[in-house]
Symmetry: C2
Subunit: 492 residues, 2 copies
């Protein structure tokens, strides 16, 4: 097959890159930094989308769609936000190509078709959305406004990696407007909780909920909630963020409402998003040296059935049994595929399904026909057992649930054993280099210290955890007083 992967222990980064390509999830495109999401990868993303969309609607949000382009004058209206994204903006300057007089058959940009005002390809949509909300919000009756958008965005990153950091990526961005600060804060925290719920219970990835430090905050936000996950190589990955935007965008776009008391007030805002980056988190949390490992919730095929036969008669007899079994599985809500390709041997099929992370594989051969059995193979543990075909539906259902929860458990135990409390900067550096993971340390709360630590160690403050007890201590770097620990880590 030529499909075997580098070992994680030898080159984690190469293992990741090759896994993404060989498991048919995504590949680099002809456009610098932009990826092609292949059908198998996209099918996993669709499962994420469907569940998130359901959760957003359940919490009262509606979908809408806003323009891809942001006129420069709107883009720059909220200065902090503009400053934060200015360096990575793709800019449309012309609206026409023409035949190139110097190169027959080739095209060039038509110099006469220069736009009066340049258009920024959205790196995020606060500006275009808040310029729209101005027309939608007049009174407290128009609030709250709870909107989400599924869209592509572009951030011209210099160093890109499939799913983790790409110039174009797919995401959802929620943008809400509220009458009070309190309500907006609650919304921001609620959506961070929705993300945590989704990532933990649907993707089987444990996360820590927290707040960002000022320097890691979203440009234009007063507060950023986040969920942070830990990858197998000890690096952290920000899996989702939810921002309390205060009145910054309302002021930049002059969005006021008449309160119940008849007063004109600026609107309070939130925005929140998760992206195809979650695919990277999924891969780097569960997978192994054999390839992708998918939690059953996210598997395009939860079960694949492979027939093992030597004659057409055997194939027909096996297929008859398999069809019965698949009917039973589907009636229980299990997604199952019969891999009856005659262009591949069973061993090659096994390898492919292993590489692609199918949670359960069922093999049915001639001896199984005689004995009324099938062979069940678990992807997560790579264990096999021969089991009766009687009651296979219930058994598979149970196994899928077990795989889902055991993947979470495994990831949780890894994560939990990689949160290390340190009390000196020596210890900080030592743990960071030897063990990695999250380092729980006291910090004096200043940007200077944060910057200095980053400069010296490449570790950043991933979050200030929400659920922790106050603890008097002194900053691991400056020794100044501190009231709680924050989590540092190297991060994706």
């Amino acid at each position: 097959m030529g499909k075997s992967l580098p070992k994680r222990s030898e080159d984690y980064s190469k293992w990741y890159n090759e896994l993404v390509v060989k498991a048919d999830l995504a590949e680099n495109s002809a456009v610098r930094g932009c990826m092609v999401i292949k059908p198998y990868g996209y099918a996993i993303w669709e499962k994420m989308q469907a569940e998130l969309d359901r959760m957003f609607k359940e919490t009262g949000h509606q979908n809408a769609y806003f323009p891809l382009f942001v006129p420069k004058s709107l883009f720059e209206a909220e200065e902090k936000n503009a400053e934060g994204f200015a360096k990575e903006c793709a800019v449309v300057t012309h609206y026409r190509l023409q035949n190139d007089p110097d190169n027959p058959g080739k095209l060039r940009v038509d110099p006469n078709a220069k736009l009066e005002e340049e258009l920024v390809v959205r790196p995020t949509s606060e500006a275009i959305i808040w310029s729209t909300y101005k027309g939608w919000i007049q009174s407290y009756r128009d609030l709250p406004l709870l909107i989400n958008q599924w869209a592509n965005v572009v951030r011209w990153e210099m160093r890109t990696r499939l799913f983790l950091r790409t110039a174009e990526f797919l995401w959802q961005e929620g943008h809400t407007a509220h009458a009070t600060k309190q309500e907006a804060l609650e919304e921001a925290e609620q959506m961070n909780n929705v993300y945590a719920d989704f990532v933990e219970n649907f993707m089987a990835i444990p996360v820590i909920k927290g707040l960002k430090s000022e320097s890691e905050r979203f440009a234009g936000a007063d507060e950023t909630y986040c969920i942070e996950a830990l990858m197998q190589d000890g690096k952290a990955l920000q899996a989702g963020t939810s921002h309390f935007l205060g009145q910054n965008f309302a002021k930049a776009f002059d969005v006021k409402f008449t309160s119940k008391e008849g007063k004109q007030e600026y609107v309070w805002a939130t925005s929140w998003g998760v992206s195809t980056r979650l695919m990277g988190a999924l891969i780097m949390t569960h997978s192994d040296d054999q390839g992708l490992v998918l939690p059953p919730n996210l598997a395009p095929n939860q079960v694949v059935v492979v027939p093992i036969y030597k004659s057409e008669e055997q194939f027909d007899a096996i297929t008859a049994i398999v069809n019965e079994m698949m009917k039973e599985l589907r009636s229980l809500g299990v997604t199952v595929k019969y891999d009856q390709r005659d262009t591949l041997r069973p061993g090659a099929k096994f390898a492919q399904h292993e590489l692609q992370g199918v949670p359960l594989r069922i093999a049915v051969g001639a001896r199984d026909l005689e004995n009324g059995t099938v062979e069940l193979a678990r992807r997560d543990t790579l264990t096999k057992e021969t089991t009766s075909i009687e009651g296979i539906g219930a058994k598979v259902k149970l196994l899928l649930e077990e795989i889902q929860s055991s993947l979470y458990k495994r990831a949780f135990e890894y994560r939990d054993s990689h949160i290390t409390k340190v009390n000196s900067f020596e210890e900080f550096k030592e743990v960071l280099e030897s063990k990695g993971g999250f380092i729980a340390a006291h910090w004096d709360g200043t940007m200077e210290t944060e910057d200095k630590i980053k400069e010296l160690t490449k570790a950043t403050i991933r979050c200030i955890p929400l659920d922790q007890e106050a603890e008097v201590g002194s900053c691991v770097f400056t020794g100044k007083p501190s009231s709680k620990r924050v989590l540092f880590a190297k991060a994706y």
Copy 2:
């Protein structure tokens, strides 16, 4: 409410524009030619997407995602396609903004961040997709490749109208690769049939299936299948197209495969798409002077319930009954919303739901409580009846089916009575001006005649219908021999 619309008979175009905005479907944005799709409009589009997506998957297609940008050198590779879209391309030339030294607080394009090669914002994705397929297709075993993408595209149109023609729009584009010409032709026709099935049976809009004449064909296609619908003002609207691309893109991007016989051959291709333009077709097929009329299949809320009460006790008693009724309706798969806003009077609610095309409205008042009745109002016929609350579920279900089929029937009768056979150019012009609709006329098959007729009348050949009998005749314009009639019309 200030929500009343112009009459269709007085100003159809103004009626359309105002309806789109007042029914909360979409609005113009701060970006020239780009629209904002509002939550209510987007909810309708989501229903279209879900059904189409189901139909694509049922016919063996998988979703994937390809980059938003097309490098100029790839864009120009298939010359006809490039030529067809060159004049309406948004072009990214720079990847960074910087502080404008002349305008503190403002940004400008960083002149040092000019791209080496300009990027075209995709107006359609054949080029980027076929440059990718080159890496995916080696052998006949890799075929057919059946892929669809849901995406935004940009075509810099000079005259835009909400949903009908916008600079950015949402669509799906299928791109398939096949080993034989025959198989590709069958795929192109199959997908045109899928579109026809969807538009007729789901959207209740009758269409004519046909082929485009050479001058109306997609740039880069050897044949374009289409479905054509007729709007209430007698103008045609192209609702979907499916292209047989021959080997044009395979040759432009050098995509060959090894056949079963071991020969190297170019791949055969199709592409097919429908877009948010379908929203325009929906509106202009069914709606009336009171506003939008939605077929139940596409209605975000098929039923809205409005309580009519004078006291809180009445409201509570009505609500208890309504909750029971809604439970019954939901168990039958009906989507129903209880409009219990206390900020609007029942009359205002009625007007809003009428404007927004809710298929069935149920009002429940104090007298209904006594009598065990409700008032049912149909949006399509604007008729009301008082009916027993006993068995309301079955009754509503039946009514929704009746509305769906009667909307189709009404549109079909209108369309059918607006296909006029003409045998002279005088008659052609007369019918076009006085009656509109499709004109079935003989045509000599030349582009010159087609162009001349367009110049003189603004009518174009909408399609050469697929299911018609051969009929010997002479061209309505030149008198030259012709073997079948084609359909002319003025078109959106």
